[in-house]
């Protein structure tokens, strides 16, 4: 079948609805935010339209730079942990029977239905001194006495990996299902142990999928702002937490908007770099 290029206005009709929705719910708010980021803040009040760089200038301090750095580091760590855990898991899952696959996928989907708040409080209970998992270790004689594992960086990381893991599996699953199972069998007949076959055939053959998944989890983790507060100390707070703080508690909309715009730009830059690096790797 050959596709005709659209000619009349009516041919473009199906595009109007999504384009309209995208404009109303994405372009307009984002444009507003960019505009606000250049506005002048009124002390004790709201803001007045202006065109000043103050908000961006204020952001370029050691403190905010540090928070931005930490946010990016946290998101990258979460992405790496998720993919490293989810890739072998999903690979093994695709080799299971259909029934086992369905049970696992339903279980993972049910984790997705949990709100971030519930995940946060559940983990903070599990990591607490009085009711946490350390009590089990004490009962098993592996630990002297129960202790609190939260707030800590590890607790934040665990909570966020737990939250992002189902997404990672669901993104990797279709690609791994499509992967020809005879590829690993061929590798085994050619002398590779199952583990080496995984690293020399499955991982390289899925390089593009893995990159895409890393980017997706990275962006997902970058937006997280509840878990760092529930499970971490103030130094584990992400830029998203500070943006919320500025926008809602400090009533400093222009500064919050500037931070948000900056975060978007840095994220886009990182994603572009990853894609470029992937392309170059492909060409080589």
């Amino acid at each position: 079948m050959r596709r005709e290029p659209p000619r009349t206005l009516a041919d473009y009709l199906p595009l109007f609805f999504p384009a309209g929705m995208l404009t109303i719910f994405f372009v307009v708010p984002f444009g507003t935010m960019i505009a606000v980021s250049f506005f002048q803040r009124q002390q004790g009040g709201f803001y007045t339209p202006a065109f000043v760089y103050d908000n961006y200038a204020r952001f370029l301090s050691a403190f905010f730079g540090g928070v931005l750095g930490f946010s990016l580091m946290l998101a990258i760590t979460v992405a790496l942990c998720c993919v490293v855990l989810a890739l072998p898991f999903t690979y093994l899952l695709t080799r299971m029977s259909r029934r086992v696959q369905v049970v696992w996928l339903v279980a993972l989907l049910s984790v997705l239905s949990l709100s971030e708040v519930i995940i946060g409080f559940a983990w903070s209970t599990l990591f607490s001194r009085t009711a946490g998992i350390t009590n089990i270790l004490v009962a098993l004689g592996l630990m002297g006495e129960a202790k609190a594992l939260t707030p800590s960086f590890a607790a934040v990381l665990t909570g966020m990996v737990y939250q992002a893991f189902p997404y990672t599996v669901l993104v990797l699953f279709p690609a791994l299902v499509r992967l020809d199972p005879t590829l690993t069998e061929a590798a085994r007949t050619l002398g590779a142990s199952p583990l080496r076959a995984f690293f020399t055939v499955v991982v390289p053959a899925l390089r593009n999928t893995i990159t895409a998944t890393l980017i997706m989890v990275f962006i997902f983790a970058l937006g997280s702002y509840l878990l760092p507060q529930l499970l971490g100390r103030p130094q584990h707070w992400t830029l998203s937490v500070l943006i919320t703080d500025q926008a809602i508690y400090q009533s400093n909309m222009p500064f919050a908007a500037a931070m948000a715009v900056f975060l978007v730009l840095v994220t886009l830059g990182l994603v572009a770099l990853t894609v470029l690096a992937g392309r170059r790797g492909e060409a080589a």
Binding site: A187, L190, S193
Partner: protein
């Protein structure tokens, strides 16, 4: 002993017996074709030889060593899959070098061996091409070269030529057989194409229902099939029933065939008569009489379909010996004991 030996190999999937008590000996350097309809257990048997499936019971030995429980990657074999399973992220050269790389061969040796193999498969200079840029026949050759890179003890191929078009397939069959003879490597090919098996094999193993029905040389299988399944599966044949009548003569369609003997004590037996052994004569001159129902003139051969007492008998003749018959005509069929193969039930 040198070569491959299967002993009482059984494979069950749940309650289904895919391979039932198979015994087979493949001497070193022979070319074996496992032939059978789909679902006959031939691929499962090959996968067990490769170690990709474990037998439920039985033993597999290679060069006198029991390899039943040896993992696939330690068996030092080469296998070509039906899907070829070329690694899409590697070039032609990297694909062929993969088994060498895995074994930690020096880079220089890898390159030399890849060049050697590429010239063997007539693809010199293709080392740096991505596999996706190759034609079907070229990919086929790359898969074969990759499987042969380490000079394996055993060369296994699972329906290797099924993805190729008919002409290329015939050419590859000859090429594969010549390659195997040059290298003297023990080779097992699974196929459902009997022409392929006849072209390439030293030994054809006919399987059905998870069992070996006959294992012999192609001509032996063709000339002396063990049972009616083998006779029917290999080439075209006419299966007719022979009976011993009251006076002790062996008859076909009620006509006595002097000199034909049935197995001792059997009152009935199946006969296999190859179409090229069926000679049409003038009506009344042969042992049987029938009516011509159809003539298929293929140029190279002529097939004449004759109805004898409700059973169809096919005769094949060459254009030089063209029978002068037309549809509806009465013909005689000559039957001599030497063309009738008595099948064991």
């Amino acid at each position: 002993m040198s070569g491959l030996a299967l002993q009482n190999v059984v494979k069950e999937f749940g309650s289904f017996r895919a391979v039932n008590d198979v015994d087979l000996t493949v001497p070193h350097g022979t070319f074996v074709c496992m032939l059978g309809p789909s679902g006959c257990g031939k691929t499962t048997l090959l996968r067990m030889i490769a170690g990709l499936d474990l037998p439920t019971s039985g033993a597999i030995g290679l060069d006198g060593e029991d390899i039943t429980r040896v993992p696939t990657h330690k068996r030092n074999l080469g296998m070509v899959f039906q899907s070829l399973a070329l690694f899409p992220h590697l070039t032609v050269g990297e694909n062929i070098a993969y088994p060498l790389r895995i074994r930690g061969a020096p880079k220089e040796d890898q390159r030399k061996r890849v060049d050697e193999l590429l010239s063997m498969i007539h693809l010199s200079g293709y080392a740096d091409r991505p596999v996706s840029k190759l034609s079907g026949g070229q990919r086929q050759r790359v898969a074969i070269a990759r499987a042969l890179a380490i000079s394996p003890k055993l060369f296994l191929l699972d329906e290797p030529l099924s993805a190729l078009d008919a002409k290329l397939r015939e050419a590859m069959q000859v090429e594969l057989r010549q390659l195997q003879q040059k290298l003297g490597i023990t080779t097992i090919v699974v196929t459902h194409d009997q022409r392929e098996a006849m072209t390439m094999a030293d030994t054809v193993v006919v399987m059905n229902g998870g069992e070996i029905r006959q294992a012999a040389s192609p001509i032996e299988i063709y000339r002396r099939p063990a049972d009616s399944f083998v006779a029917d599966f290999i080439g075209q044949t006419n299966l007719v029933e022979a009976e011993t009548d009251r006076s002790g003569r062996v008859t076909v369609f009620g006509q006595p065939v002097p000199g034909l003997d049935l197995p001792a004590g059997a009152a009935k037996a199946m006969l296999s008569i190859r179409p090229e052994d069926v000679h049409l004569t003038a009506p009344g001159a042969g042992a049987l009489t029938g009516t011509v129902t159809f003539v298929r003139d293929l140029g190279g051969t002529i097939e004449t379909f004759v109805d004898v007492a409700g059973r169809q008998i096919v005769a094949v003749s060459t254009p030089r010996a063209r029978p002068e018959v037309t549809v509806g005509q009465q013909v005689g069929i000559g039957l001599t004991p030497d063309v009738c193969v008595v099948l064991a039930k």
